[in-house]
């Protein structure tokens, strides 16, 4: 297992480096293997063939996945609402049980 672990560690480290400039869903034939939509997807010449990746390696592709990359503050607020809502719901449930 140690040999497998070492081998995979090297491969994953290389994957992390490659992924900075090449989308990890882009295969060796430049086809897109993603199940989701992305702005870089292009239609192939042959109908029914897999989508082609139009990313040219000149920019960070990851922004194409994110519909609103500046949404961290909204996400933080949403997480807070989820927790507060759950806490209130459990408190109400406990009150009902004791009543």
């Amino acid at each position: 297992m140690e040999r497998i672990s070492e081998m995979f560690t090297d491969m994953v480290a290389h994957a992390e480096a490659v992924c900075k400039t090449r989308c990890p869903y882009r295969d060796r034939k430049d086809r897109c293997t993603a199940e989701f939509r992305c702005r870089n997807q292009r239609q192939p010449e042959t109908a029914g063939a897999p989508l082609i990746c139009g990313h040219d390696g000149e920019f960070d592709y990851r922004s194409a996945w994110e519909s609103n990359p500046l949404a961290h503050a909204r996400t933080k607020k949403k997480l807070g609402e989820i927790r507060d809502g759950a806490t209130r719901r459990r408190a109400a449930s406990r009150r009902k049980k004791t009543d």
Partner: protein, 253 residues
């Protein structure tokens, strides 16, 4: 000293001839594959091609034929993965191909692992992995899964777009030590928090340690949502999983 023509499998000979350039790697792989049985070369070839169905069939066939599990693992699966690693390093293949080969390896290890387990080689812990509801990204999760399996964890991969109920059902069915959740969008990240709250409501939260990861996730978000750990990449995921498994084992006594 072995030569290329000593390797019986034509595909393996072509792979070495076409893709290996470093003399020491060429020599090592020729020596390796010239020594191993043709059936093991076939398994390696199927793994290199990412043919998980074929690796499954050939591994079972080899075991049924009396081949030792360790021989299949070393001379078939690991040997094949070695070629995959070289091709990936040399940019002959990329992440999708590597993950296909990792799936093929898993297909073979499915038969090997129970045999290793019977001989005392137990998994470190069981990990449940999934991408949260509304999110179809899975590369990071798949790389983490690959690393965890390679490091001795048993991993149940639920896939993508996993709802709270599906996570809860899976925890009850598989009884993992660790739940790993992935999200690649800021819009789906809150579903990690929702899932954690759902686990609390279902009274299973204390049964698992939760680790989260994905491009938009940070330590701060992980703390906000009540996760036990945050993995910034696939490499740190393994050390995090080991540490969480140890914590849970310590709690359980």
């Amino acid at each position: 000293m072995a030569v290329l023509s000593d390797i019986t499998n034509e595909f393996i000979r072509q792979e070495i001839e076409e893709y290996l350039e470093r003399p020491e790697e060429i020599e090592r792989n020729i020596e390796l594959f010239a020594r191993v049985r043709p059936a093991m070369q076939e398994i390696a070839a199927a793994l290199i091609e990412g043919e998980d169905g074929e690796v499954d069939r050939l591994t079972k066939q080899a075991l049924d034929g009396g081949t030792e599990a360790l021989e299949i693992m070393d001379d078939g699966l690991i040997a094949g993965m070695g070629i995959v690693g070289i091709k990936f390093r040399e940019a002959m293949i990329f992440v999708p191909e590597v993950l296909a080969c990792a799936r093929a390896m898993k297909a073979g290890m499915k038969y090997i692992e129970p045999i290793l387990s019977d001989s005392g080689v137990k998994p470190i812990a069981k990990v449940l992995m999934g991408t949260v509801k509304g999110d179809l990204h899975d590369i990071g999760k798949n790389l983490c899964t690959m690393m965890l399996r390679g490091s001795g964890f048993e991993v149940v991969d639920l896939g993508v777009d996993i709802s709270d109920d599906e996570f809860i059902d899976a925890i009850e069915e598989h009884q993992p030590s660790i739940l790993g959740m992935s999200a690649l969008l800021t819009t789906t990240m809150p579903n990690m928090g929702k899932t954690i709250e759902a686990l609390i409501d279902a009274d299973v939260r204390d049964d698992v340690m939760i680790m989260v990861g994905g491009a938009p996730v940070t330590q701060e978000f992980a703390d906000d949502m009540g996760a036990d750990g945050y993995g910034k990449d696939a490499l740190s995921c393994v050390s995090l999983a080991k540490s969480l498994a140890k914590s849970l084992a310590g709690e359980r006594g």
